[in-house]
Symmetry: C2
Subunit: 679 residues, 2 copies
Amino acid sequence: MSDTALVIFTPSGKRGHVARGTSVLAAARQLGVDLDSVCGGRGICSKCQVTPGVGDFPKHGVTVSATALSDWNAVEARYDEKRGLAKGRRLGCQATIEGDVVIDVPPGSQVHKQVVRKAAATREITMDPATRLYYVEVREPDMHEPTGDLQRLAEAMERDWEITGLTASTTVLTRLQPALRKGNWAVTVAVWHDHKGGAARLIDIWPGYFEGRLFGLAVDLGSTTIAAHLCDLRNGQVTASAGLMNPQIRFGEDLMSRVSYAMMNPGGAAQMTEAVRDAMDQLARELAEEAEVPPEQIVEAVVVCNPVMHHLLLGIDPVELGQAPFALATSDAVTSAAVDFGMTSINAEAQGYLLPCIAGHVGADCAAVALSEEPYKSDDLVLICDVGTNAEILLGTKNRVLACSSPTGPAFEGAQISSGQRAAPGAIERVEIDPATKEPRFRVIGSDLWSDHPGFAAATAEMGITGICGSGIIEAVAEMRMAGLLDASGLIGSAEATGTSRAIPDGRTFAYVLHDGSADGGPVITVTQGDIRAIQLAKSALFAGARLLMDELGVDAVDRVVLAGAFGAHISPKHAMVLGMIPDCPLEKVTSAGNAAGTGARIALCDISARARIEAEVRRIQKVETAIEPRFQEHFIAANAIPHATAPFSELAKVVTLPDVSFNAGNASDSGRRRRRRA
Amino acid sequence: MSDTALVIFTPSGKRGHVARGTSVLAAARQLGVDLDSVCGGRGICSKCQVTPGVGDFPKHGVTVSATALSDWNAVEARYDEKRGLAKGRRLGCQATIEGDVVIDVPPGSQVHKQVVRKAAATREITMDPATRLYYVEVREPDMHEPTGDLQRLAEAMERDWEITGLTASTTVLTRLQPALRKGNWAVTVAVWHDHKGGAARLIDIWPGYFEGRLFGLAVDLGSTTIAAHLCDLRNGQVTASAGLMNPQIRFGEDLMSRVSYAMMNPGGAAQMTEAVRDAMDQLARELAEEAEVPPEQIVEAVVVCNPVMHHLLLGIDPVELGQAPFALATSDAVTSAAVDFGMTSINAEAQGYLLPCIAGHVGADCAAVALSEEPYKSDDLVLICDVGTNAEILLGTKNRVLACSSPTGPAFEGAQISSGQRAAPGAIERVEIDPATKEPRFRVIGSDLWSDHPGFAAATAEMGITGICGSGIIEAVAEMRMAGLLDASGLIGSAEATGTSRAIPDGRTFAYVLHDGSADGGPVITVTQGDIRAIQLAKSALFAGARLLMDELGVDAVDRVVLAGAFGAHISPKHAMVLGMIPDCPLEKVTSAGNAAGTGARIALCDISARARIEAEVRRIQKVETAIEPRFQEHFIAANAIPHATAPFSELAKVVTLPDVSFNAGNASDSGRRRRRRA
């Protein structure tokens, strides 16, 4: 009998000969197979579970006998008794290889497991978070060879995990000695790794084997809203999500008014910094509470945001971003303590990461969208629009990517809309209007039923129907246009002109009643002329930004469009096209990506190699400055109509009919009538 | 005429040919000559001044013509007019080489200038501080090539100073943009360099060329006293010095009682941490005020201290240091923010450095003494005793160095001494007692006159004679022994036994009146029997520690002794030998090093290569644990006498006479008399 045995690992297919008696875990390490272990092979963590095969494996040219692995041992028996080991599973650190064998590494036992994203474009995130847990046994102190406890911990980390140069802040140092002694010289440590290589930093320490998990925050810090996800750093799962209005709104609705506030008020920037940091901390606390996660187990935070928010978060006066040449204080990614981002309630040593900015108006949020949607890998010409108070727009292929930012205002997020609200249960998110009857039906967040379904009232009774969110207002305006309630200039017709009593007078103009909940004490939800104008301004800005990039690239059409938005469900491609938010493109080539910036933040949170990747890619992205480009204004004005003249909706025409009505006359007479009614 | 010219730099002797028209500064850089420049050759800083020679230089085999350098130019003329350029001096960045020339680089123009230490053992410190100033001109932002201001600053630092990877905290980032604009894209930056290579950190920034200087603090944090020096980081000069009692004294006089306090009182360690950090900050503020240095120009702090103070300063519970195996939380040097050492009033970005600890009882203070006195470079066997509340003792040669710490208590620092005080104006620091008359004379800090000098009363009138400091009490006890006022067991004789009315009854024992200032409302300064006992305990501990190291090395004598003490003037070698503080050694081989730990701190402050050096040397130093060594107790008991029996003072005998008197009988009768008097 040979001294060695053939071992084949699936699904990687890695194979090789190892000495008989080698543990499966050791064999995996020898052959470079991704088999997890937190306890370093001590039979404690059970992360190294494998499924050995028995019988013929013609594909691999091997027959595996029942004795190819060592017998089930006492450690495995104890583990099975205490926590249960699934049938067919073995602990890789306990089972030794005694004959030729095929061993499957289930996804849960892979360190760098692939996590399938739920977004429309299915893509895998490799789990490789910056901060990970390691179980380690440390040499006891010896009076005759006096080294510090930290130095002996560092030595053990190098010995067991090949992690060199472990450092610790003075704060975490204060907890090192009690933990080592309580754990009888065995501890679990959380260690943060710099994605640029080198630094390894002790974040936390627990006595013995720590059963808990580590979590991270992915935060999309928008001008109007802040969205945060609490993610499990083991598998990337979102454990809890929460959103808040950005409290800086009281200093200015849009970015430029906040920059002005900082310029006009001494200490104004500091006030805004304090407000946003407080909000970040509040979100972190809420998420920890909701997910019932001890706050100290939140050890990382990745933030994406536009440049003005970026500077205000870091405490930098954004004044330079309000005037040409829009110079950033720093454009590179920022690795800092999470406490510098205001997060004082999570682990005190938690590390923060801010994605790089592309330019003075094109921020870390755009970089995050790029990281999520990867235009720099695209074979065809893709236009990516991330719709928020500022739209982040990317256009390009793997050869060249352009980026710009466009000030759409908060309308797409449901703000500055008469019945607008953020995406939360009770908010109208989908709208359809029958072109014949002009009657609407809708869906609200929190229920899958349309409003004309018999069960709808019961399903929504508790939460109520409270308002309309960003995706809802986009659909409502587009449906109104398609139902002939709006003319091409965006004017709402009167009841006479449109033939529906849902068109009611509202000041000098009209509004469309989407939902009248007044009988049950609920709100009357209308779409007003002001709402239409706000959406028109927003969509014109978005369209103009996209056109500017197309001009720069010298193209008149794009191959595909990706629509993304931080809040609410996905933006409906059809409605976006009806509105004229986006340029000409076959409808089936328009997809929704959900909160792409937030997804980018999550990717950077779960995979440090993504940080290195986006830092490199950002240097290649060419930015276009909308603020000083006269063509931007031209495109903006030209894009005001619904739909605008330059967009032939040939594809769309197959699906919807666009009645060409105009209410100019009706409107004039109507306002006359209104005056009469008042008199 | 050749296109090149020969240039010879003195004092380095470096020579080579450079193209005619090369500036002297550029030539110096080409030839590796140490010629300073802060402004990078822009004629602003004047740090590159040189003195060109004219005429024959037979030593160098060259004749220098008057036209060897370019003519005095407009920049030099303007500089001379505004600030004055010494005769014969040129600005190295302006003068170009036009012919063979000999150029002297004066010491003030060398970057790594050598600073001669004032201590007894003359040694040079190479100036190479971690934090230095650089003047740099930064590219203006360009909208079409959008990089952050920090990235363009980093690019300029790499271009002009070969400093790569500049990083900045979010705090300093907040001041980057205004400084760059105010300075019209020229700034002076303070950059900190990690002595392990690599990291370069932006500490501060000033618009344009900053005329100010940078300073650092060297702090010797003792159990009883804290001594700090404010040093000019350009030349190493001590600009101001200050001392404070360690406020932790209220929690316990000695280290072990503070460890006990921490063990017995929840939050006790934190209280002590707060107290010592407050004191550190107070010292820093006082020094800045005294030296009239803007606190933000203090950019570094180096601290040396024993392990218990080390842990308490860092906020680590010192409980493990109170029991075997005396495990340190961390033994390596600590590089941290100075604010972690409590220094909140200096530059917010100031970096702190704590020297490495040698063992659980042998701290960073001992490492600092080693750095200052360099036993690891000694050809002969040197014993170094740093006398404080704990004595740090080093013994060895370049082949092997041993270290230990011995708990001497605070007596040597003037604490727990009836008239003791810290070394400050008015404290008695030198004492002589006439063996015939038993009359004392003394000197106080703040005056060079002995007390029997006619001008003494006038010289000390204002400050008064307030007490006796550490070096004073050592001399007083030794002189009392030499004058026959004490017997070998340390007992003070009565007036009858000693023949002087200065020996007065004091409880059951006697005291010696050193100074009676009561006529002028001043104190009566006596040396009591309790004082003698305190000094005996202290010196026995010191001696026992030294003996223990000698045992370990298997020697009975040392080649030389270096005495060091944090406070007051130098300890008198003669008196130390009389007391039996130190083992047998020729008197001329006993030297005083002043505050060697403080000097070590200063060296580490002025020269980052010293940090790397001591970190390497500390690993080679073998420590001996006094606390668990039975022989330490034996030596301690044996060393109680003055002088002890095992020390043949042959050398000393040439200078002083040791009367062999005993007061045992006299004392008994005297205490009887005292009882009678009371009755």
